[in-house]
Symmetry: C2
DNA sequence: AATTGGTATCTTGCATCACAAGGTATCGTG
DNA sequence: CACGATACCTTGTGATGCAAGATACCAATT
Protein backbone atom coordinates (compact mmCIF):
# COMPACT_ATOMS: atom_id res chain seq x y z
CA UNK A 1 0.00 0.00 0.00
CA UNK A 2 2.20 2.76 -1.27
CA UNK A 3 -0.14 5.51 -2.34
CA UNK A 4 -1.32 8.23 -0.03
CA UNK A 5 -4.62 7.84 1.64
CA UNK A 6 -5.77 11.11 0.23
CA UNK A 7 -5.66 9.75 -3.28
CA UNK A 8 -7.52 6.62 -2.32
CA UNK A 9 -10.24 8.41 -0.49
CA UNK A 10 -10.84 11.87 -1.70
CA UNK A 11 -9.91 11.92 -5.32
CA UNK A 12 -10.82 8.28 -5.47
CA UNK A 13 -14.31 7.44 -4.49
CA UNK A 14 -16.33 10.31 -5.90
CA UNK A 15 -14.48 10.40 -9.16
CA UNK A 16 -14.71 6.64 -9.45
CA UNK A 17 -18.46 6.68 -8.93
CA UNK A 18 -18.97 9.40 -11.50
CA UNK A 19 -16.80 7.55 -13.99
CA UNK A 20 -18.77 4.38 -13.30
CA UNK A 21 -22.05 6.17 -13.94
CA UNK A 22 -20.72 7.63 -17.17
CA UNK A 23 -19.49 4.23 -18.27
CA UNK A 24 -23.15 3.23 -18.50
CA UNK A 25 -24.02 6.18 -20.71
CA UNK A 26 -23.48 9.89 -21.18
CA UNK A 27 -25.06 12.05 -18.54
CA UNK A 28 -25.24 15.61 -17.24
CA UNK A 29 -24.05 16.99 -13.94
CA UNK A 30 -27.39 17.67 -12.36
CA UNK A 31 -28.57 14.12 -12.85
CA UNK A 32 -25.27 12.66 -11.72
CA UNK A 33 -25.42 14.82 -8.62
CA UNK A 34 -28.95 13.65 -7.88
CA UNK A 35 -27.97 10.01 -8.09
CA UNK A 36 -24.87 10.53 -6.01
CA UNK A 37 -26.82 12.53 -3.45
CA UNK A 38 -29.24 9.68 -3.02
CA UNK A 39 -26.56 7.00 -2.99
CA UNK A 40 -23.79 8.46 -0.87
CA UNK A 41 -25.05 11.85 0.29
CA UNK A 42 -22.93 13.99 -1.98
CA UNK A 43 -23.92 17.68 -2.13
CA UNK A 44 -24.81 19.30 -5.43
CA UNK A 45 -22.19 22.00 -5.09
CA UNK A 46 -19.55 19.32 -5.25
CA UNK A 47 -20.25 18.03 -8.71
CA UNK A 48 -19.34 21.04 -10.86
CA UNK A 49 -15.77 21.51 -9.68
CA UNK A 50 -15.35 17.76 -9.89
CA UNK A 51 -16.58 17.57 -13.46
CA UNK A 52 -14.35 20.44 -14.49
CA UNK A 53 -11.37 18.75 -12.92
CA UNK A 54 -12.14 15.53 -14.69
CA UNK A 55 -12.45 17.37 -17.95
CA UNK A 56 -9.13 19.08 -17.38
CA UNK A 57 -7.63 15.67 -16.69
CA UNK A 58 -8.98 14.42 -20.00
CA UNK A 59 -11.24 11.81 -18.45
CA UNK A 60 -14.41 13.23 -19.98
CA UNK A 61 -15.53 15.40 -22.88
CA UNK A 62 -18.66 17.51 -23.05
CA UNK A 63 -21.37 18.47 -25.48
CA UNK A 64 -24.49 20.58 -25.11
CA UNK A 65 -27.98 19.31 -25.78
CA UNK A 66 -31.40 20.93 -25.51
CA UNK A 67 -33.54 19.48 -22.78
CA UNK A 68 -37.09 20.74 -23.49
CA UNK A 69 -37.58 21.14 -19.76
CA UNK A 70 -35.19 23.83 -18.60
CA UNK A 71 -31.86 25.15 -19.79
CA UNK A 72 -29.67 23.11 -22.15
CA UNK A 73 -27.80 20.28 -20.53
CA UNK A 74 -24.07 19.80 -20.68
CA UNK A 75 -23.55 16.11 -21.23
CA UNK A 76 -20.36 14.39 -20.18
CA UNK A 77 -18.93 11.49 -22.10
CA UNK A 78 -16.24 9.10 -20.92
CA UNK A 79 -12.96 9.15 -22.84
CA UNK A 80 -10.59 6.23 -23.34
CA UNK A 81 -8.42 7.71 -20.60
CA UNK A 82 -11.49 7.94 -18.40
CA UNK A 83 -12.27 4.28 -18.89
CA UNK A 84 -8.70 3.36 -18.07
CA UNK A 85 -8.76 5.52 -14.97
CA UNK A 86 -12.00 3.90 -13.91
CA UNK A 87 -10.48 0.44 -14.03
CA UNK A 88 -7.44 1.54 -12.03
CA UNK A 89 -9.57 3.29 -9.44
CA UNK A 90 -11.82 0.31 -9.00
CA UNK A 91 -8.86 -1.93 -8.33
CA UNK A 92 -7.48 0.62 -5.86
CA UNK A 93 -10.83 0.82 -4.18
CA UNK A 94 -11.16 -2.93 -3.84
CA UNK A 95 -7.70 -3.11 -2.30
CA UNK A 96 -8.62 -0.35 0.10
CA UNK A 97 -11.87 -2.06 1.02
CA UNK A 98 -9.97 -5.24 1.81
CA UNK A 99 -7.40 -3.39 3.90
CA UNK A 100 -10.10 -1.72 5.95
CA UNK A 101 -11.97 -4.97 6.44
CA UNK A 102 -8.74 -6.51 7.66
CA UNK A 103 -8.25 -3.75 10.20
CA UNK A 104 -11.80 -4.06 11.38
CA UNK A 105 -11.22 -7.77 11.72
CA UNK A 106 -13.53 -9.57 14.07
CA UNK A 107 -14.80 -6.27 15.39
CA UNK A 108 -17.25 -6.22 12.54
CA UNK B 1 -28.34 8.18 3.08
CA UNK B 2 -28.71 11.49 4.79
CA UNK B 3 -25.31 12.33 6.20
CA UNK B 4 -22.74 14.29 4.28
CA UNK B 5 -20.13 12.42 2.41
CA UNK B 6 -17.44 14.25 4.28
CA UNK B 7 -18.44 12.62 7.52
CA UNK B 8 -18.53 9.21 5.94
CA UNK B 9 -15.22 9.52 4.23
CA UNK B 10 -12.87 11.87 5.91
CA UNK B 11 -13.75 11.83 9.53
CA UNK B 12 -15.02 8.33 9.08
CA UNK B 13 -12.55 5.84 7.82
CA UNK B 14 -9.37 6.83 9.62
CA UNK B 15 -11.08 7.38 12.91
CA UNK B 16 -12.95 4.11 12.54
CA UNK B 17 -9.76 2.18 11.87
CA UNK B 18 -8.02 3.69 14.86
CA UNK B 19 -10.98 2.94 17.09
CA UNK B 20 -11.01 -0.62 15.77
CA UNK B 21 -7.34 -1.06 16.57
CA UNK B 22 -7.85 0.34 20.05
CA UNK B 23 -10.79 -1.98 20.61
CA UNK B 24 -8.30 -4.82 20.51
CA UNK B 25 -6.08 -3.25 23.15
CA UNK B 26 -4.55 0.02 24.28
CA UNK B 27 -1.89 1.36 21.99
CA UNK B 28 0.27 4.39 21.33
CA UNK B 29 0.22 6.75 18.38
CA UNK B 30 3.49 5.77 16.81
CA UNK B 31 2.53 2.12 16.60
CA UNK B 32 -0.96 2.89 15.38
CA UNK B 33 0.54 5.11 12.71
CA UNK B 34 2.90 2.35 11.63
CA UNK B 35 0.08 -0.14 11.23
CA UNK B 36 -2.10 2.33 9.40
CA UNK B 37 0.77 3.32 7.16
CA UNK B 38 1.25 -0.27 6.14
CA UNK B 39 -2.43 -0.98 5.76
CA UNK B 40 -3.83 2.08 4.04
CA UNK B 41 -0.84 4.36 3.45
CA UNK B 42 -1.58 6.90 6.14
CA UNK B 43 1.25 9.33 6.93
CA UNK B 44 2.66 9.64 10.43
CA UNK B 45 1.95 13.35 10.63
CA UNK B 46 -1.72 12.55 10.39
CA UNK B 47 -2.07 10.54 13.55
CA UNK B 48 -1.32 13.14 16.21
CA UNK B 49 -3.96 15.69 15.27
CA UNK B 50 -6.38 12.81 14.83
CA UNK B 51 -5.67 11.39 18.28
CA UNK B 52 -6.04 14.81 19.87
CA UNK B 53 -9.37 15.30 18.15
CA UNK B 54 -10.57 11.93 19.32
CA UNK B 55 -9.50 12.73 22.83
CA UNK B 56 -11.32 16.05 22.71
CA UNK B 57 -14.38 14.19 21.51
CA UNK B 58 -14.14 11.88 24.50
CA UNK B 59 -13.59 8.74 22.44
CA UNK B 60 -10.26 7.91 24.05
CA UNK B 61 -8.31 8.60 27.22
CA UNK B 62 -4.55 8.58 27.64
CA UNK B 63 -1.90 7.48 30.08
CA UNK B 64 1.88 7.57 29.95
CA UNK B 65 4.07 4.51 30.24
CA UNK B 66 7.83 4.03 30.10
CA UNK B 67 8.98 2.13 27.06
CA UNK B 68 12.58 1.11 27.79
CA UNK B 69 13.39 1.79 24.17
CA UNK B 70 12.94 5.50 23.58
CA UNK B 71 10.83 8.22 25.15
CA UNK B 72 7.76 7.30 27.23
CA UNK B 73 4.77 6.25 25.24
CA UNK B 74 1.39 7.88 25.44
CA UNK B 75 -1.11 5.06 25.40
CA UNK B 76 -4.64 5.58 24.21
CA UNK B 77 -7.55 3.66 25.66
CA UNK B 78 -11.02 3.38 24.20
CA UNK B 79 -13.85 4.89 26.25
CA UNK B 80 -17.44 3.71 26.32
CA UNK B 81 -18.30 6.56 23.98
CA UNK B 82 -15.49 5.43 21.71
CA UNK B 83 -16.83 1.90 21.56
CA UNK B 84 -20.28 3.24 20.74
CA UNK B 85 -18.87 5.51 18.06
CA UNK B 86 -16.97 2.58 16.59
CA UNK B 87 -20.14 0.55 16.20
CA UNK B 88 -21.97 3.43 14.56
CA UNK B 89 -19.10 4.14 12.21
CA UNK B 90 -18.81 0.54 11.16
CA UNK B 91 -22.46 0.41 10.28
CA UNK B 92 -22.10 3.68 8.34
CA UNK B 93 -19.08 2.30 6.57
CA UNK B 94 -20.81 -0.91 5.60
CA UNK B 95 -23.73 1.05 4.21
CA UNK B 96 -21.34 3.23 2.26
CA UNK B 97 -19.50 0.21 0.91
CA UNK B 98 -22.78 -1.25 -0.30
CA UNK B 99 -23.84 2.02 -1.91
CA UNK B 100 -20.56 2.28 -3.79
CA UNK B 101 -20.73 -1.32 -4.92
CA UNK B 102 -24.23 -0.63 -6.19
CA UNK B 103 -23.03 2.34 -8.21
CA UNK B 104 -20.17 0.36 -9.62
CA UNK B 105 -22.65 -2.33 -10.53
CA UNK B 106 -21.61 -4.66 -13.26
CA UNK B 107 -18.67 -2.41 -14.07
CA UNK B 108 -16.72 -4.17 -11.38
C1' DA C 1 -48.89 39.02 -17.55
C1' DA C 2 -46.88 37.80 -13.28
C1' DT C 3 -45.59 34.45 -10.03
C1' DT C 4 -44.20 30.03 -8.61
C1' DG C 5 -41.64 25.78 -8.80
C1' DG C 6 -38.73 22.53 -10.99
C1' DT C 7 -34.71 21.99 -13.90
C1' DA C 8 -29.93 23.07 -14.68
C1' DT C 9 -25.91 25.63 -14.75
C1' DC C 10 -22.08 27.64 -11.94
C1' DT C 11 -19.45 30.62 -8.17
C1' DT C 12 -17.95 32.05 -3.63
C1' DG C 13 -16.41 31.58 1.11
C1' DC C 14 -15.64 28.43 4.69
C1' DA C 15 -13.96 24.64 7.25
C1' DT C 16 -11.72 20.42 7.45
C1' DC C 17 -7.89 17.70 7.21
C1' DA C 18 -4.14 14.56 5.25
C1' DC C 19 0.47 15.25 4.18
C1' DA C 20 5.34 16.60 3.93
C1' DA C 21 8.86 18.42 6.39
C1' DG C 22 10.91 19.63 10.25
C1' DG C 23 11.75 19.88 15.38
C1' DT C 24 12.59 17.74 20.07
C1' DA C 25 13.90 14.09 23.17
C1' DT C 26 15.12 9.34 24.72
C1' DC C 27 17.56 5.04 24.40
C1' DG C 28 20.91 1.33 22.88
C1' DT C 29 24.86 0.18 20.01
C1' DG C 30 29.13 0.79 17.64
C1' DC D 1 30.08 10.38 21.56
C1' DA D 2 27.79 9.96 17.38
C1' DC D 3 24.34 7.52 15.14
C1' DG D 4 19.96 5.36 14.09
C1' DA D 5 15.73 3.92 15.86
C1' DT D 6 11.95 5.06 18.67
C1' DA D 7 8.46 8.35 19.91
C1' DC D 8 6.47 12.58 20.61
C1' DC D 9 4.62 16.89 18.32
C1' DT D 10 4.02 21.45 15.26
C1' DT D 11 3.66 24.18 11.15
C1' DG D 12 2.41 25.39 6.38
C1' DT D 13 0.35 23.95 2.28
C1' DG D 14 -2.94 22.20 -0.80
C1' DA D 15 -7.08 19.85 -1.84
C1' DT D 16 -11.74 19.64 -1.74
C1' DG D 17 -16.59 18.82 -0.05
C1' DC D 18 -20.24 21.74 1.41
C1' DA D 19 -23.74 25.35 2.16
C1' DA D 20 -25.62 29.12 0.19
C1' DG D 21 -26.62 31.76 -3.31
C1' DA D 22 -26.69 33.69 -8.25
C1' DT D 23 -28.34 33.02 -12.89
C1' DA D 24 -31.45 31.38 -16.31
C1' DC D 25 -34.86 28.63 -18.74
C1' DC D 26 -39.38 26.43 -19.01
C1' DA D 27 -44.24 25.06 -17.80
C1' DA D 28 -48.22 25.67 -15.13
C1' DT D 29 -50.91 28.09 -12.22
C1' DT D 30 -52.82 32.62 -10.62
Amino acid sequence: MAESLQIQLKKGVLEMCVLALLSKGDNYAYDIASRMAEAVGMGEGTIYPLMRRMQNDGLVTTYLQESGSGPPRKYYKLTKAGATALKAQISDWVAFEIAVRKILGEVT
